[in-house]
């Protein structure tokens, strides 16, 4: 291996590592707040990348109808609950809160010719369409079973993931998509040539990580989300509604997923079902952090990215095997060093 290949692989590894770091953070966040292992995290990534690819092809992405449908179901559910509890006076508020954004997005997609939108707006539109799917998913699927065990929630997650893949295949078809690169320039530093695309991806991912750090460490709302993860009853008693914490954790996860999709879209060809492998690699990183530590999970993600990149050069047929084998020593280490915590009985 020469110097050129080495720097190329390192760049490649750090770039995908940055994206896995985002996925890992989202997985840890959702798990900490709701105990859900969100197998569908990677699906937010593919949905947003494919939505952007569709917009770039000058077509209207069907994900906007998915959002409209999902939000309508949430509305029906909330209205039914309101009717049962005799507070139908809240109906207009519920409709306004739940339907405004989906309706506006649907109108935009319906009225505006996608080809006429500037590139940055297409990116923004893709993120704004995918992000609300997080809370929709939480309210429709997870909130009603919030008390279920971790295993039951995992099984539900797998089911949801399979359903989403089906919908994704129906919407986008079986072909692969790649979105347009943000930039094609290179940064030449003597011997090393760094692609600006990589710098941009790593930069945006790091900025998002720092933003999340500031949110969780320095805002009352972020602290409240963390507090819910530590002690749900305590959080309730200071006035954090449990379902709100859950749906906001899902909102953050979906935003992270959507941004990751925009970042990874120009680097990798994505198919309707590519989300699963992305989740799995983020999951390996999250496991390295014990599903609890954000910095360790992020570090693990860069390790996964680098390992994958170098493995694909030396033994490309085994690259996935090598990455997933990484879980074994980590699990062994975790099982030897941490005391086992029984899951609370519900």
């Amino acid at each position: 291996m020469d110097w050129y290949v080495f720097t190329f692989l390192t760049q490649d590894g750090l770039t995908t590592g940055a994206i896995y770091a985002l996925i890992a953070l989202a997985l840890v966040l959702v798990f900490a707040v709701t105990r859900v292992i969100l197998v569908g995290q990677g699906d937010f990534v593919t949905l947003s990348a494919l939505t952007l690819a569709t917009l770039q092809a000058g077509k209207t992405p069907a994900t906007v109808w998915l959002l409209l449908g999902g939000a309508s179901l949430v509305c029906v559910k909330m209205l039914a609950a309101a009717a049962r509890e005799g507070r139908l006076a809240q109906a207009p508020r519920i409709l306004l809160m739940q339907m405004t954004l989906p309706c506006v997005l649907a109108l935009v997609c319906w009225l505006v010719e996608p080809a006429t939108l500037p590139g940055a707006l297409k990116v923004l539109l893709s993120i704004v369409i995918i992000a609300p799917l997080g809370p929709v998913l939480y309210r429709l699927v997870y909130q009603p079973v919030a008390q279920a065990s971790v295993l039951q929630l995992l099984i539900i997650s797998v089911a949801i993931h399979i359903a989403v893949i089906g919908i994704s295949l129906w919407i986008f078809g079986a072909e692969g998509f790649r979105t347009l690169p943000f930039t094609s320039g290179n940064l030449d530093l003597g011997e090393v040539s760094i692609s600006l695309q990589s710098v941009l991806v790593i930069g945006i991912a790091l900025a998002l990580i720092v933003a999340l750090y500031l949110f969780f460490g320095h805002t009352l709302y972020g602290k409240a989300l963390r507090a819910t993860a530590f002690n749900q009853r305590g959080a309730q008693l200071v006035g954090v509604p449990t379902d709100l914490a859950g749906s906001h954790a899902f909102l953050l996860a979906a935003i992270i997923g959507a941004v990751s999709g925009i970042l990874i879209g120009p680097i990798t060809t994505l198919y309707y079902d590519s989300g699963f492998l992305i989740t799995l690699k983020g999951f390996v990183a999250a496991i390295i952090g014990g599903m609890a530590s954000y910095p360790l999970a992020a570090a693990g993600a860069f390790l996964v990215g680098l390992l994958e990149s170098f493995a694909s050069f030396w033994v490309s047929a085994y690259k996935e095997v090598i990455v997933f084998t990484l879980v074994l020593p980590v699990l062994l280490w975790l099982s030897l060093t941490t005391h086992h915590v029984e899951e609370e009985q519900h």
């Binding site: 509890e85 507070r87 009352l220 602290k223 409240a224 963390r226 507090a227 530590f230 002690n231 009853r233 305590g234 959080a235 309730q236 008693l237 200071v238 006035g239 954090v240 509604p241 709100l244």
Partner: protein, 256 residues
């Protein structure tokens, strides 16, 4: 305004599966009062407070500040209406610092647009100087007494109208119990009404205006605290045979 009704409970009923925990409880509280609820283990005291805050579902007529409590559907809504509970199990955020725990106590007010959490924090620190010394320490590493102070401080950060305390003296040294009860009495002068559940019946009745004795999920006795403390059956069961009011609170021991 002292004198008007803050809480009126009529025919409150709660159960865990098939086990009845509260049967036809009636209870009244005026603004600015300290009302204590005493009773043996398993009488339903914790259940009563949990039902009032909304942690446990219940049936019956509960009016709070003149409005039916059923209008407020979950714990968060009731907290936002000025009800705070310090639960028996404290429920602190163990890995977070003392100060973060306290600031989170103001979450509900913050959500309603109030931005006074830092001045409230100063007041709470003035009440519990020990918490100020420990502000950067993780809540999980505090001593039992400090945890109790933190739980009370966190509840006070919400600036409650009705503060419900579940066994604030649980597991504390007599000296600290005295301090805690002094703080409870001081709170009254700031307009906070306190609903106090206690095993330490003597200290509780000494600090309260009115008292209820709960047994097997029912109100067995009620009356002005001083009268209850004189009641022979209360003395017999909850205060022991020791003559009442001969010692200051600090020297009294908990009645098991």
């Amino acid at each position: 305004m002292s004198g008007d009704k803050l809480l009126e409970v009529q025919g409150l009923y709660a159960c865990y599966g098939k086990v009845d925990a509260l049967l036809d409880i009636s209870l009244r509280m005026r603004r600015g009062e300290i009302v204590s609820v005493i009773g043996p283990n398993g009488a339903g005291k914790t259940t009563l407070l949990s039902a009032l805050i909304g942690l446990v579902s219940s049936e019956g007529d509960v009016r709070y500040a003149g409005q039916a409590l059923t209008r407020y559907h979950n714990v968060a809504e009731r907290v936002s209406r000025g009800i705070s509970l310090v639960p028996e199990s404290r429920e602190l955020f163990a890995p977070m610092t003392v100060e973060d725990n306290l600031l989170l106590g103001a979450f509900s007010r913050h959500r309603q647009g109030h931005r006074d959490q830092h001045s409230t924090l100063a007041e709470v620190y003035a009440l519990f100087p020990r918490l100020k010394e420990r502000r950067t320490q993780a809540a999980g590493t505090l001593s039992g007494g400090e945890r109790q102070m933190l739980a009370m401080g966190r509840a006070l950060m919400a600036r409650p109208t009705l503060l419900m305390l579940d066994e604030p003296s649980l597991g504390l040294a007599p000296k600290i119990i005295g301090e805690i009860f002094q703080i409870i009495r001081d709170l009254r002068s700031t307009g906070v009404s306190v609903l106090l559940v206690e095993q330490n019946a003597r200290a509780a009745l000494k600090s309260s205006d009115y008292g209820y004795v709960l047994e097997n999920g029912e109100v067995a006795l009620e009356g002005p605290a001083a009268e209850l403390a004189d009641n022979p059956s209360v003395i017999d069961t909850y205060l022991g045979r020791k003559k009442k009011n001969t010692a200051p609170v600090e020297e009294l021991t908990a009645i098991g």
